[in-house]
């Protein structure tokens, strides 16, 4: 349903171009939940924005293709892209507080999503729209939606705000939901509720979800597939259970070692040493090399590419070439 | 023949030489040796509006080696107190003289203890002459008296005689038969237009009131004068001529009789008689005369000596004065006759809103800080027969628009929104001169500018220093550079076109050498 091929998105800066996403390829089937995992700044969010062509200037997509249901979003006219946004592909953002417009009532913000895409398809009355909004609010678990409809975002708790955002995203029954760390800003208990909600949506409506998170633990519980990103590139990809059980890429391994819940008892947590490299002037050699504990002399010498290692698994490491 | 001639020349030369030595010896005795010379040092006081002139004067005096400071005072009341205490030295000052009569200028400024005498000048001969000038009724005699005063003052030099400002006004070329008046009033009675029948005048400030008895304001008078006539009026060059009064006579210095012209009607059709004249003046001179306990502000300084106005018959009135008052005619120009019956019926307040007079135009509508509109009164008696062009007004409608900002006023004239404007600043004159549709007109104003020197204390207790000051200042240069050229040099204290002005005196010339010599004689160092 979604096939991203060789996507590269660049941000020019005074010191040179930053490739936030480089030669990213990814595909997602109907009804699937794909986790996109990585440290902050690795290009996960930019990937999502690129799919909706919402990368803010001066950033721009310089190459690649993004096929959604067989059509390349990157070659569509702006008006066509707009028709897809919110209708076929909807997005749930990271920080619900700043994402809801503070000056409009929550219910009206949900209703707006409905209205945007119903203009061409016959008239719906305001009251009908409200009814739809109320049932949406109920569906995402907002209690007493009749009174909540007229409240402003600041009168909502964080979890409720996120539910409202999900309601906005679901308004037009999208086929694909892009969720950008939807639980990061929330308490742990609320996180679980939101994840449960998303799972339910996925199972009840068959909505595919591209789930961005820096939290491998969350991804492991929630996703079917997982893509690990590092410095703008996918380094490992595969079914979630297999990747967790048997990580191939040293970075994935490192990530797994640094997660408390997944570490076996009595083993020490071991964070990955070093920092994410400067994204300016990266070559297509391995960018994890400087932090890698299985570094070899060749790593710095030749480019590495994503290798299909069978069983739906891919990895970008010189060890597997 | 030749030999005899030579001898005569020899004798003459010898005589001249002797004379020269003798006179030379006499003069050389006076100036002290140069090592005893002091530096002349004093302060010039002024208010802000005279600052530019004060600075220019100081600059010129410094070139002579005089140490001069300029002090600008913010508060006239404080300065006045210092002046009255005889503490100050030299003051840049000015004095209005709209009656054009020396009584209003020389008496207050030079009489011992006069109310404006900040030079503290005191001269028994001048006092005597001024008293006779104030009480006399014979014009020729008064003229002779005041000329003698001018001669004395010229030599005594209690002032540095300065200049008189000119009024600059302007009109569209379509305006006919209009000249600016020396008292700056704009009378539209005889003015006509080559295009259209509505004439717009741009005036420079808000009109205080439309009641002739309830303002102290020349702008108000300008507007009122087009709807109301007085017993007498003034020609543009300042001469008093009959208007509502057809003739008059001074029965004694304190009793004047006026004959009122017959056939004059107010705008409501009622005839104007002695009752209206008496009522007009009673309203002003009586305490609380405006009703509601209010007194007219037009008595103090304008009608003080008038104790009673007596009706002799329907067309004759007599003015009883507390003291001789030679400027009575000039002062009566500033009072306009109002209709007794109407004012009594509606009251002063209503009258000011809907004024009715006996002038060439009748009131239509008015907002005092915006505009006053008036229309020709067809029943007008024609105005003063002594000014050419008597009869009803030529234009159908006159509008006085209040335009306080000078640039805007000039713009209104240039854009044709106004036909006549008051008070053009000198710096905008070239702009108007270039405009083919406008013309600038100037007239001598009624205000004299001068430097008053305190004669009671050094350095100005020495007449030589005072004269030196008169020689030391190049007024022509100041008039040219500071005043834009629109001023007239004074040859004494009086206005260039005033009554009794001494034409035989010529202004003190700019002569720095003479000034230096006088200063040295007085014991001061010069450069």
């Amino acid at each position: 349903m979604l096939r991203i091929h060789n996507l590269t998105t660049e941000f020019p800066t005074r010191r040179g171009a930053v490739r936030a996403v480089e030669e990213m390829s990814l595909s997602l089937q109907r009804g699937q939940i794909m986790g996109l995992v990585g440290e902050s700044g690795c290009g996960k969010s930019v990937t999502l924005l690129s799919i909706l062509r919402l990368v803010a200037r001066p950033g721009r997509i310089i190459s690649g293709s993004i096929h959604f249901e067989g059509r390349d979003i990157l070659s569509m006219a702006p008006a066509e892209v707009r028709r897809i946004r919110g209708a076929d592909i909807a997005m749930v953002f990271q920080d619900p507080l700043t994402t809801l417009n503070p000056v409009f009532r929550v219910g009206e913000q949900i209703r707006e999503s409905l209205r945007v895409h119903r203009i061409g398809t016959g008239r719906t009355s305001r009251r009908e729209e409200r009814e739809t909004v109320l049932s949406l609010m109920k569906e995402v678990g907002i209690p007493s939606p009749e009174s909540r409809y007229w409240q402003y975002p600041h009168e909502f708790s964080g979890g409720m705000q996120q539910r409202a955002l999900i309601a906005i995203a679901l308004a037009c029954r999208p086929k694909l939901l892009l969720a950008d760390e939807p639980t990061t800003a929330l308490d742990v208990t609320i996180q679980a509720q939101i994840l449960e909600l998303l799972s339910r949506i996925n199972s009840e409506r068959g909505t595919a979800i591209l789930f961005v998170t820096h939290d491998l633990a969350v991804a492991s519980e929630f996703c079917h597939w997982i893509s690990v990103m590092y410095a703008g590139r996918i380094v490992e990809q595969g079914p979630v259970d297999e990747v967790i059980a048997d990580p191939l890429h040293p970075y994935t391994e490192g990530l797994l070692r640094s997660i408390p819940r997944l570490v076996k008892p009595r083993r020490r947590l071991s964070p990955i040493p070093g920092d994410v490299p400067d994204l300016i002037g990266l070559t297509n050699r391995c960018s994890f090399e400087s932090r890698c504990d299985r570094r070899m002399p060749e790593c710095a010498e030749r480019p590495v590419s994503l290798v299909d290692v069978g069983g739906g698994r891919h990895v970008r490491c010189i060890l597997y070439e | 023949m030749g030999r005899r001639n030579l001898f005569v020349w020899f004798v003459i030369m010898l005589a001249m030489l002797a004379g020269g030595i003798i006179s030379g010896c006499a003069k050389k005795a006076e100036p002290p040796p140069s090592d005893q010379l002091r530096t002349l040092s004093f302060t010039i006081d002024c208010e802000n509006y005279n600052k530019a002139v004060a600075e220019a004067v100081a600059q010129q005096l410094r070139e002579l080696g005089v140490d001069v400071q300029v002090r600008v005072w913010g508060d006239w009341a404080v300065l006045k107190e210092a002046l009255l205490n005889k503490e100050r030295e030299m003051l840049v000052n000015d004095w209005g003289n709209s009656t054009l009569d020396p009584y209003d200028l020389l008496n207050p400024k030079f009489e011992t203890g006069g109310r404006g005498n900040y030079a503290h000048y005191s001269n028994p001969r001048v006092d005597d002459l001024l008293k006779r000038g104030a009480t006399g009724t014979d014009e020729a005699e008064r003229e002779r008296i005041y000329k003698e005063v001018q001669e004395i003052l010229y030599d005594d030099a209690p002032w540095v005689f300065g200049y008189a400002m000119q009024e600059i006004e302007a009109s569209r070329k379509t305006v006919q038969n209009w000249v600016p008046a020396t008292d700056s009033r704009i009378n539209l009675h005889r003015v006509s237009l080559t295009e259209g029948d509505t004439l717009v005048v741009g005036i420079r400030a808000t009109i205080e009131s439309l009641d002739p008895a309830n303002h102290r304001n020349r702008i108000a008078e300008t507007v009122i004068r087009n709807m109301f006539d007085g017993l007498v009026t003034r020609t543009p060059d300042g001469k008093v001529v009959p208007e509502i009064a057809e003739s008059w006579e001074a029965i004694s210095p304190t009793l004047w009789e006026f004959k009122i012209r017959k056939g004059i009607t107010f705008h409501n059709g009622e005839p104007l008689t002695a009752d209206d004249v008496k009522f007009t003046f009673d309203r002003i001179i009586t305490e609380g005369g405006l009703g509601n306990g209010k007194s007219s502000p037009r008595k103090a300084g304008l009608l003080d000596p008038v104790t009673e106005v007596e009706k002799v018959d329907d067309y004759t009135v007599r003015f009883h004065l507390s003291a001789p008052w030679p400027i009575i005619l000039q002062m009566l120009v500033h009072q306009q006759i109002v209709p007794k019956d109407y004012v009594e019926r509606v009251g002063s307040e209503e009258f000011a809103k809907k004024p009715i007079g006996a002038g060439p135009f009748k009131f239509v509508e008015g907002k005092l800080d915006e505009r006053v509109v008036m229309e020709r009164y067809d029943g007008y008696y024609g105005g003063s027969p002594d000014i050419p062009g008597a009869g009803p007004a030529r234009i159908k409608r006159a509008i006085f628009e209040v335009i306080p900002e000078t640039s805007t006023r000039v713009a209104a004239l240039q854009s044709g929104q106004a036909h006549i404007i008051q008070s053009v600043p000198p710096e905008l004159v070239p702009e108007l001169d270039k405009d083919p549709n406008c013309e600038v007109k100037t007239v001598e104003g009624t205000r004299v500018y001068f430097l008053e020197m305190n004669v009671t204390r050094p350095p100005f207790d020495d007449v030589r220093v005072r004269q030196a000051m008169n020689y030391a200042i190049d007024w022509d240069l100041i008039i040219e550079k500071v005043l834009g050229g629109y001023a007239t040099r004074l040859n004494g204290p009086l206005l260039p076109h005033g009554f009794a002005r001494h034409t035989g005196l010529s202004p003190y010339p700019f002569d720095p050498d003479r000034a230096r010599q006088l200063l040295r004689e007085a014991g001061y160092r010069t450069e």
Binding site: I84, G86, F104 | T206, N214, D369, A411, G416
Partner: protein, 336 residues
Amino acid sequence: MRGLRVLERILSTIPIVFGVAVIVFCVMRFTPGDPIDVMMGREGHVSQEQIDALRREFGLDKPIHVQLYMFLSRAVRGDLGNSLTKHRPVSALIRERLPATVELALGALVFSLVLAIPIGVISAVRQYSFVDRASMAAAFFGISMPAFWLGIISIIVFSVRLGILPSYGRLPYGLEPARVTGLYVLDSVLTGNVSSLVAALRHLLLPSVTLGAPMAAIVARVMRSSMLEVLRQDYVMLARAKGLTEWAVITRHALVNALIPTVTVVGVQTGVLLGGNMIVETIFSWPGIGRLAVDAIFNRDYPLVQGVVMVYALTFVLANLAVDILYTYINPKINL
């Protein structure tokens, strides 16, 4: 609830207005110059008795605190005394001239907002474009240009050189519409008087532009920077992600948020507008409160100055109150 809070806010302005009244009173009394002196002129043959009589008539002979008490106790009843020079009640004089000033202020406000908000928005959306640079340069010009100069230049250009706009006044004689509100533009609309409407608008144009220029400049700059700020916000991204057109994103989601700081600035600028109105009303012979104030100050007309300054203070307080109330409508997070 909101009504009650508004009432509370209004009541809380009373001490401010009272304080202003006292300060104005004192400042006027300690300013050099005496109203009677100014009235009588310097050369007048006025005796001390006559001056004293006048002082008594206007109550100027009493001690200052008594004068202050008299002024305040009358002011509470809406009686601001009588003008010394215009011989009429101050409140009547103000009431007469208020519509002219209100009309001019509204003209300036409308001009500056209608011009500045779109400019600010376009400059932000097209940051660093030619439009942005040109309009910000113009805004800088607008802030630094004195009203006096701008007024005179616009008169010279538009009424003297081009002859297309009048240079002074509110309307030519004979075109006044029937009085409803005293605002000529509004009245001529209400009475359907087209020729008055055209004339009134033509007269209003130059003074409004002159008065509104500095405000337009400031509003444009504030609008631009707050718009730039807002455009970076997540909710703008969400609006785009919903599939809204860029126009809808900017005019609906971004604009309302960007207006919040702008409204504050407009409130503060109302004070600047009031200060400018004395100059602009004088230049354009606009018969409003500003010219009344200038006349009154020059003539040391104490009661009139006090009255006019009270009106200014009240307007300023009310403008800020209006901003506060407006705030609660556009920014739901703020309560009064």
